[in-house]
């Protein structure tokens, strides 16, 4: 149990998507909610990279924001190193906050355009009081810039003077500055070109080895996830449908959705390959299908899948939520 750094238990989050109050009264409508994250449980072990993959509407970014406390859960709890993050007092909160950080998707939006890079990187440092005095934090910022492959001179520049990849390096330096143990990476390379993506992914792995970081890696790109993650959770419409070791998941995916997803990824090795056509599209999360939300697209679905919601169960080395697997269909 001690090797679990982050424990997610029955996490849920609803979003109010109803029309304004006046429209609701006039049109006689009920309040509407979207369940972006629905009863999700998993744990992240110290030093590993746990990846969450899913398509749009899967709730992966919502989970990221829930874990770092940018939004509050509707239900369930998040345990960080054994402490419930929701109930923490304000004194220990500050201390907890300095232990996790986040790298965002869009390096063009994640750096304040009016701030110099060194001030951006120094902000967490100064907020958490990691170092005392201007000289000390400036020295630390210089070190951080060099750690992420920029030069100390770059600190005086503004974000717009950098390319996308360099900005993401700045964002990584900011995330590292308060010496966190755990970093949530929300699609950190999806806005970058492939050759730059390779640089950033390599950098992130190097930093993980150097500082013993634990990553939660969120992505829609299965090939990137395969490269980065030790364990992977697959999300569909706010529910976790499969959790497995990276290698296991790619070698023998269990859940029909995972299989479809793996088959759909365009890949270099697949020139001229013909493949199984993908059925249907992701349903609207405002009005999700009953039972197993994947049943309208699933080749193995039966009546039970339409009525009941499957839960994660262990099948060999993989946890998957699927009745077809349980009953040995397909």
């Amino acid at each position: 149990m001690t090797d679990v750094l982050v424990g997610i238990e029955n996490l849920s989050r609803d979003f109010d998507v109803s029309k304004p109050w006046l429209n609701r009264v006039l049109e006689n409508e009920e309040k509407k909610f979207v369940t972006a994250v629905n009863d999700v449980s998993f744990e992240i072990r110290r030093g590993e990279t746990f990846a969450l993959v899913g398509e749009s509407g899967s709730g992966k970014s919502t989970i990221a924001k829930l874990i770092v406390g940018l939004i509050r859960p509707t239900g369930g709890q998040i345990l960080f190193d054994g402490t419930n993050v929701a109930t923490r007092g304000s004194a220990s909160m500050r201390q907890l906050r300095s232990r996790f950080q986040m790298i965002f998707q869009d390096p063009f939006a994640s750096l304040n355009p009016r701030w110099r890079v060194k001030d951006i990187i120094a902000e967490p440092l100064r907020t958490f009081g990691v170092v005392e005095g201007r000289a000390a934090w400036e020295k630390r910022v210089d070190e951080l810039l060099e750690t992420v492959g920029l030069s100390a001179k770059d600190g005086a520049k503004y974000p717009h003077e950098f390319s996308g990849g360099q900005r993401q390096r700045v964002a990584i330096a900011r995330a590292l500055s308060a010496q966190p143990e755990f970093i949530v990476c929300d699609e950190p390379t999806s806005a970058l070109d492939v050759s730059v993506q390779a640089q950033i992914l390599n950098l992130m792995r190097d930093l993980q080895d150097e500082f013993g970081l634990t990553y939660l890696f969120i992505s829609h790109d299965l090939s990137v996830v395969r490269h980065m993650a030790s364990r992977i959770g697959v999300l569909y419409l706010g529910r976790l449908v499969e959790v497995a070791e990276g290698k296991t998941l790619f070698r023998e995916p269990k859940h029909p959705y995972t299989k479809m997803l793996l088959d759909a990824v365009p890949d270099l090795e697949m020139t001229g390959r013909s493949r199984q056509p993908v059925e249907g599209e992701i349903p609207n999360p405002i009005d999700p299908p009953s039972g197993c939300t994947y049943h309208p697209r699933c080749p193995l679905a039966n009546d039970r899948c339409k009525r009941e919601v499957p839960v994660l169960k262990l099948h060999e080395n993989t946890k998957a939520a699927c009745f077809a697997l349980e009953e040995g269909r397909g």
Binding site: L70, M102, F104, Q105, D106, W115, P124, T127, F128
Partner: protein, 313 residues
């Protein structure tokens, strides 16, 4: 090595100004350069009025009633001592314009600053906090928008004077004007800042600041505010022209600056009485000065709006 680090030093403020797109678009338009020069001249004239004005229109002792209603120097009966003629009290029109634009600009700047500070603060609060705070602030703004700004200014001016009836009008007129004009303009700032704040607060750099537990007020001031100031600058410039006009209107209506310290509007009101008796210059020159100033500032505002708009670049 020293050479190298010297060369790689980020360029200074002026170098950046002259390298910027704004400066480039500025130098490309003759109209804008002319407007800027006119504005600058009027600003300097107003600022150094005591040094450059041929007479001191506020110094009653220096006025000669004999010289009252002198036409401009090129008209028959004109006197080169009073290049643009004199008014009914013998005040030199040119000097009165210089001193008058001083008051007009002071009221303009002060009320714009007041409106901007009020509007920006409320707009930031409304946009960032959202929910009930947002609803209350913006509903007040909506209600205020249903009244014309002149009406609000008149209302405030009237109520201030009935409440503080005893105070010295010469002393209070300036502050009453600034307060009433400023209060009638804040809505525009609040709305603009609120909508920019709504966009900025969802950006990831704000989330990054929230993540480390910064206080919302600190995030608003140091992260959101610098990024919503662009449109504010444009509104402020255009509002400066509006504020000067509003001040002139109020003064013309007789609720503004008293005639002992005439602003441009007061001068036009004084001149208005003589307009039909042939002494056209008393109203015409202050009127022309007002029109030129407002036009130049407006042109600058329009240009600034286009230059700062990334979509038009």
């Amino acid at each position: 090595m020293t050479m190298d680090s010297e060369r790689l030093k980020p360029p200074g403020l002026w170098a950046r100004v002259f390298d910027s797109d704004i400066w480039y678009s500025f130098t490309r338009s003759k109209v804008i350069m002319a407007a800027a020069i006119v504005t600058l001249l009027i600003f300097l004239g107003a600022l150094f009025a005591p040094l450059i004005a041929p007479h001191d229109p506020f110094d009653m002792a220096s006025l000669y009633l004999m010289d009252s209603l002198t036409p401009p120097m090129w008209e028959e009966g004109g006197n080169p001592v009073y290049p643009l003629g004199t008014d009914d009290q013998g005040r030199d029109i040119l000097s009165a314009i210089l001193y008058g634009s001083r008051i007009s600009l002071a009221v303009g700047f002060a009320s714009v600053a007041f409106a901007a500070i009020l509007g920006i603060s409320l707009g930031l609060l409304a946009g960032y906090m959202g929910g009930r705070v947002d609803s209350i602030i913006m509903r007040i703004a909506d209600v205020q928008l249903t009244f014309p700004s002149i009406l609000i200014a008149l209302l405030i001016d009237g109520s201030v004077r009935s409440v503080f009836g005893g105070i010295d009008r010469e002393q209070s007129a300036f502050y009453v004007l600034v307060f009433s004009i400023g209060l009638s303009f804040w809505v525009q700032y609040a709305r603009t800042v609120r909508s920019s704040t709504l966009v900025e607060k969802d950006k990831e750099y704000v989330q990054a600041a929230r993540l480390i537990g910064l206080h919302p007020l600190r995030i608003m001031a140091s992260h959101v505010l610098p990024n919503v100031m662009g449109p504010v600058l444009v509104i402020a410039t255009i509002n400066l022209a509006l504020a000067i006009i509003t001040e002139a209107t109020l003064s013309f209506l007789g609720v503004g600056i008293p005639s002992t310290q005439p602003s441009l509007g007061t001068l036009i009101r004084i001149g208005n009485d003589f307009l039909f008796s042939g002494e056209w210059w008393i109203a015409a020159f202050p009127g022309a000065a007002l029109a030129i100033l407002v036009l130049a500032v407006n042109l600058l505002g329009d240009w600034l709006r286009d230059a700062l708009n990334p979509r038009l670049r």
